[in-house]
Symmetry: C2
Subunit: 321 residues, 2 copies
């Protein structure tokens, strides 16, 4: 690959922001651009850069795909409203669940989500807006992992030699592609984004679909959404790099009210890491683990068992799917 | 149910042994009996009682079903040889794997194992020996859980109104049916069994088949057998009530040698309990959990992730399947 990484020690944040703002302005020229905001640190930083570079000539959308965390769409839109950046919420839930129906292979799930996002929803938004460019928050680790064949990242297109102009009708601008997460966080902070954005634990492109083993239905997403909320509440103070809940397809035996209940299992994962390339399970206090083991079956319908991952990356990965 | 529990505080071990020995002798009369030894505390205690009551008129078999732990059959036979109790090893692996082929439902697995054991293997052994009675290590908790519909125990027959005389051609004698595990351990100790038997953590009737989610094949049993060996090595010093490894059917993403490996997950469970009715996840040191998380993927082919169960019984159960 011919993209050069900018290491954190070589990153001059202000100069980077200045250059990228100019670059975006020059590429888009007198046209308009579309920007998709997910609320992650990458797309949030891109949103701010695009807003600086293009002002009202960039239209930012938040695509509600049905696989977000609880309250996520409203929360993100309101953060950006406060920063003076208008964001339009697009309800595309049905399109995503339709594309995910019956799909169990993780790569095909990612593919279904990517295709729905780019070919269906965004292509429609770009076409109807008359824009020729789409801004996107691809970072250096995304490129690297995709090239290495570890995991197909949601937001890699041109790296896979996909001609977006031909396939989707727009060109993609990726201003963060030389930075890893730490660099992106520095840029996001300098762009005036609040701590809950620039310091937010990473969240995968395929969102809660990456947290469901087996078919992704709105019912199964709802289970993992509730478990995720509990995990995030309990582990917010852990200072861990990333924490998450996975819904298994496997059923395990449980017992409730003295009767057998063949139920679901939630896998909790929490890692210490600096770069996501290697990661160690966080040594959480046993009280916290027990609280998770108790709260999730008590509060999430059908769950009878909770586990905690104790294997490092490698050989495991941070996300299970 | 009309069986009365003998509580530990009411148990006079010597009197119990004397009475049961007489009872067995009187039921079998001048005939012969067959006894199946699994190496668990229940069947071991029954073996000793039967040997005392009947001497050479009881024939003890150890049925190798292919779903035992590593080295288990040889180990058990040699313990009893030292105690002067002859045990015949019967290789029935093929019959069990044939019966388990394609079966994924836990209850149907138990059923397949029970049927193969009683209707196929034991019925044949009893018939060929001319015996009219089979001794069995059913205990009070087995009866209770089966009646409550929590879990179909492997060794419950007459409680389910199965006429063993009619169905299998023999009558069942269950000398331990009034005792819970603690009482059985006391009896086993008094009968001269070594600590590794009377103090052995419980092991389920369906053996490693209860540790495999999904289809039970010899290959999948081999994975969980290796993981079980590591778990037992690492947790032997934990003083826990029971510890085990479960092989998931779900696949999770891993990474090895820089490449994605879509691999297996092993769930480790370890509980503190006194009666198996309620149980709490043992607060293992994090070093131990990390060693399990490292050793299992390193030593067992295809495993990329290890988890630890953090939910109590109830709502989870000690065994997952």
């Amino acid at each position: 690959m011919d993209i050069r990484e900018i290491r954190v020690e070589d990153l001059n944040v202000d100069r980077f922001i200045g250059e990228k703002t100019k670059e975006i302005a020059s590429i888009v020229g007198s046209g308009t651009a579309v920007n998709a905001l997910s609320g992650g640190v990458d797309s949030s930083a891109v949103t701010m850069l695009a807003h600086r570079a293009l002002g009202t000539r960039v239209k930012t959308y938040f695509v509600e795909n049905g696989i977000m965390r609880e309250g996520e769409p409203q929360r993100v839109v309101s953060i950006f409203e406060k920063l003076g950046v208008p964001v339009e919420l697009v309800d595309a839930k049905e399109a995503f669940f339709r594309a995910l129906r019956g799909v169990t292979d993780p790569e095909l799930k990612r593919q279904a989500i990517t295709d729905t996002f780019y070919k269906d929803v965004l292509a429609r938004l770009v076409r109807s807006s008359g824009a020729r460019h789409l801004l996107h928050g691809t970072n250096y680790t995304d490129v690297e992992e995709t090239v290495a064949g570890i995991k197909r990242q949601h937001n890699i297109l041109e790296q896979l030699r996909i001609d977006t102009q031909k396939e989707y009708g727009y060109k993609v601008i990726e201003p963060l592609i030389e930075l890893r997460k730490t660099g992106v966080r520095m840029v996001a902070k300098a762009l005036g984004l609040p701590k809950e954005i620039y310091d937010r634990p990473p969240f995968p492109g395929p969102a809660l679909a990456a947290r469901v083993i087996g078919e992704v239905t709105s019912e199964r997403v709802e289970i993992v959404r509730k478990a995720t909320k509990i995990v995030e509440e309990e582990l917010a103070a852990s200072n861990a790099f990333q924490y998450l809940a996975v819904l298994h397809e496997d059923r395990v035996t449980g017992i409730r009210g003295g009767k057998r209940e063949f139920g679901s299992q939630i896998g909790v994962r929490c890692f210490d890491s600096t770069d996501a390339v290697t990661a160690t399970p966080t040594r959480l206090p046993f009280e916290t683990l027990e609280r998770l083991g108790q709260r999730i079956p008590a509060e999430v319908h059908g769950v009878v068992s909770v586990t905690y991952n104790v294997t490092r990356k490698p050989p495991t990965t941070i996300e299970a799917v």
